[in-house]
Symmetry: C2
Subunit: 645 residues, 2 copies
Amino acid sequence: MALGAREDLGDARFVGIETLSDSGSTPDACVRRALTRGFDFVSVSVAIDEFATSVDPSTYPAKPLTHGDRALSGSEWSTRVVLRCSPEVERLAGAGDARGTRALNRELKWAAHVGAHAVAMNINAGDPTLIGRLLGSHVASVGETTRVWARTRMSGDKAFDDDAYRRWAATSAACDENSNVRAYLHITGAPKERREWERWLGERVAACALSVDSFVPNARGFPVLPKELQALVRAMFERGIQVVLTDYNESGVAAKKITPESVENEGERVSGDAAHSFRLYWEYLVYIFRGIEPLSEQALAEVPYRDHLQAPLQPLMDNLESVTYETFERDASKYIQYEEAVRCALLDVVDEDQEGTVMVVGAGRGPLVRASLRAAERARRKIIVYALEKNPNAIVTLQHLLVEEGWQEAVHIIPGDMRTAKLDAKADVLVSELLGSFGDNELSPECLDGAQRFLKPTGVSIPRSYESFIAPIVSAKLHDAVVACKDKKALETPYVVQFHKTFSIGGPKSVWKFEHPNHDGCIDNERYARVSWSHSEIGDISTTLHGFAAYFDSTLYNGPAGHVRCSIHPASHTMGPTGEPMFSWFPMYFPIRSPILIDSRSASSIEFVIWRRVDVHKMWYEWAVTAPSRGHVHNLNGQSYWIGL
Amino acid sequence: MALGAREDLGDARFVGIETLSDSGSTPDACVRRALTRGFDFVSVSVAIDEFATSVDPSTYPAKPLTHGDRALSGSEWSTRVVLRCSPEVERLAGAGDARGTRALNRELKWAAHVGAHAVAMNINAGDPTLIGRLLGSHVASVGETTRVWARTRMSGDKAFDDDAYRRWAATSAACDENSNVRAYLHITGAPKERREWERWLGERVAACALSVDSFVPNARGFPVLPKELQALVRAMFERGIQVVLTDYNESGVAAKKITPESVENEGERVSGDAAHSFRLYWEYLVYIFRGIEPLSEQALAEVPYRDHLQAPLQPLMDNLESVTYETFERDASKYIQYEEAVRCALLDVVDEDQEGTVMVVGAGRGPLVRASLRAAERARRKIIVYALEKNPNAIVTLQHLLVEEGWQEAVHIIPGDMRTAKLDAKADVLVSELLGSFGDNELSPECLDGAQRFLKPTGVSIPRSYESFIAPIVSAKLHDAVVACKDKKALETPYVVQFHKTFSIGGPKSVWKFEHPNHDGCIDNERYARVSWSHSEIGDISTTLHGFAAYFDSTLYNGPAGHVRCSIHPASHTMGPTGEPMFSWFPMYFPIRSPILIDSRSASSIEFVIWRRVDVHKMWYEWAVTAPSRGHVHNLNGQSYWIGL
């Protein structure tokens, strides 16, 4: 029975159980028992008698070492059962013992054979490289049917938990970050600082085993989670990560359950059925799950884009499609900012008795034309608008708008590229919406340099300036997605992404800024920047660097009449009239070829270098990590990715 | 409003309308009108005034050449509207005129810009290579957003329609069989012979325009389709192909509608609304659609496998998974045949007072053990069963079955490979289920040659023999699927496929046969065969050869007690007890690198050569087409595909 009806939280609505009292039962008996108690799946031991599996697995034992497969259907195995390896076999295999390794392989192969939902192996002992090799070798040989859950731990002890995180990172590195080997986080206590657990949100976490140990009794004696673990479980649910309730800690030691005196726990007393005594815990999870804020309509629409890599647009080489314009036009918050910026600019630059000239360069299907006309009305300025557009399909729409909106007098359509179009008029205000998620990445500098010849000496550009920002992140999912492209170029391409399973190792730092109009004698739009995050900025925790998040913050206009911004920087994100964030831009993700462990014990800092390069045909970025260790330069000479001019 | 609620027929439940009376209306007006009349989408002209589009498209005309895009949302454009190119522009472009080509490109680009469901272009005039290049160039530049429907025709005149088919094949060939360029079959009359239209079932057909011309009045004066077109429409619906009702023929000439006197067609008379007068035609399509037999449970389960390429198993190199055994065991019809074969064999080979020995080689999870025990009971023979199995996971299940089914006395489990296992017992009956879809393709010959040392001199093998068959087919969808793999190896690999959008150019012909036990002094399992289909066998129609279908027909047992077969040959397919066909095997598909036009005018025959080759490590097939023209040998030396021994 699911925790709730919400489907946007994915598999998080299904809860599993892992209890000592299941020992010795067949998987089908455990499944039936769990289902009647409200749970959706069980975690059970693969072996009937765990020591039996440590016999020499190269011979055929007389008795079967595991329960039969036919009592459950294939679909039940794949949705209802997680198989656990035997502790003694895990210990021997983790120590490199050959017989233990063969026995572990037999257990893993059995789990794959029946098609279990996952097979769980403890990685808290033994050599992470040996274990990572074993798990990687297994998942590579069985394909994508059965995932491996690598059981790691979180106890609330900072040093202990940091060690567990590094063991996980080492295991994952040994199997080359195989996306079918995921962490199974066994939680027995709450960390003191949020960042200690938040880093896991960027890792490949399959599920959390929540020990009854981690609960505390509330005033009425009912089991509840400490505040920090409530936040953790909520954050996991929001990322579709399942919870398994368990009555022992990760060393296999039984934990005592909390039973309020007011509750007659007849079930357990009478039947000895431990699953029943989990009821209060399960109900508490239902309470947490159902308490999660429903998503706004806009956030729901964005669910498919979470952690989904989008190749950046080629705005000059390709013409936008109608549906892309439609999507952009839907973001009221952005055009409210533009309207306000044009209004302030008109007040400052155009006299009341003059006729102002506004030039919209890249008019598309007209949203900035509309915003400019509205701004003029509010500013009580008479204006004439020139709408420059290079896309012949968008011009059809502009032509229709002229008639439909009665714009014939006020608006002139000029077909052509703003860098080369011929036009005698000069503008008081040059309005454009050429910004990309990283500010300059859609060639706004090059286009506006070309268009500024249309400006009067007193004229202004909207936007007036934009600044680019970079932040280091943990994001195994994005790294996996890039690797899955099986193309070296994919590892050297920045993507537009709605971040979801991501953790910020350090806050965004500015790399460079562009201003318009640019009156430099010789305009140079190449850039170079070096930014770093010190050990104290990172905090005293180990993390895995998977790449960098990128943002922009723009000043649309700044003058006596007002200062109008437009930003997707997390600290200054532009909000819309209904309190929803502006959604026209997702951030960008700059991947790195191999994840890098940022080890808290060596007090490492992170340093990042980035270049913006331009030649006659194209613009591209190059980037490199130079600390904690010096890596190669990504996308050298634009070999993998560039934007055509 | 869909024709019915069935979703297994895909988009076929949505019907479009294309009517002369829509000329001059805006697309949104046409959509609104069509929706109120029961239709789901409209086919409308892209241009406001078709001659206006033939002006020089390198300049910007003062007035827009097409209706605006904003009156329909992106999702309405993509589901409700098919745009038609202008006839005059099509004519000029098809003749190679430069201005016409530019104008056509502008129309195609507009359709892609708005994201229309499709853009339709007539290919019945002009040079197919010029048109194919234009369409291929267009779809390659706009990506997968908007498909091209190439309008071709079917009038019922054999020579005329064969020419249309060849024009389609040439257009498709010119754009390198681009899967986003599909046929739009404009039907004005019924072919005399079924094969004239059935060949289209193997082509990339997006939709059929069904002209009211193609209907005839029934006794009550209502429009109905002639019998052959009823079958055609039903077959199209079954393949998810949509119908568009139209009131003109493919040359643009208006067709007269059938109006029974009993129906007061007030709508049309009063409002002049032609859509309304389509009502009786639409209702007739509802009748046809709803009359299609619902799929059986088994057929429904197979829907996802239709035209879906499955890589063949590697039965010796890989161990089967539990769920694969589970699927196989579900096919009662197969084990009924096996049980009957063992029963007959026991009657013929084992005396009543003897204890017979049955050896199941490759026992898996025990279905043949069970069938053998049942057969013995029915034959009143006492038997002992040896169950040989190499998969250690399957042995676990066999061990449990021994206890659960009380088989301890009668069944001995022997772990190991049948080719090398050590065992002193000798069998009266050697039972195996090693057949693949092509008979020998899962190495049954090599395995049984190895296992026959367990047979008594009087012993028999079940199966006793199996024969392999090959048939030439039209199947653009399968060819597309192979090409989509973007790997040369994919074009040289045979696949397991449930054929759906396929047309048999000629019936299956035998290529070779294997018999067991094989008492040849030196066993040679290599084979070579050459088969051909003459022009008269193909019939006097042009077709496109996309590869070959492959089947097996096996004699499980043949003796005094009976002859038991097991076959997936279309003419002798084994049926189950409930009248459903046996479903354990789908046929195979041998692709060819490039489709070949079989031109009826040159009275071509088809000749196919195939080799079965074996070395110490592997078995593979090589194949080539040698008529109508000699092609290369596919999979030479097993370079792309082989089965490991």
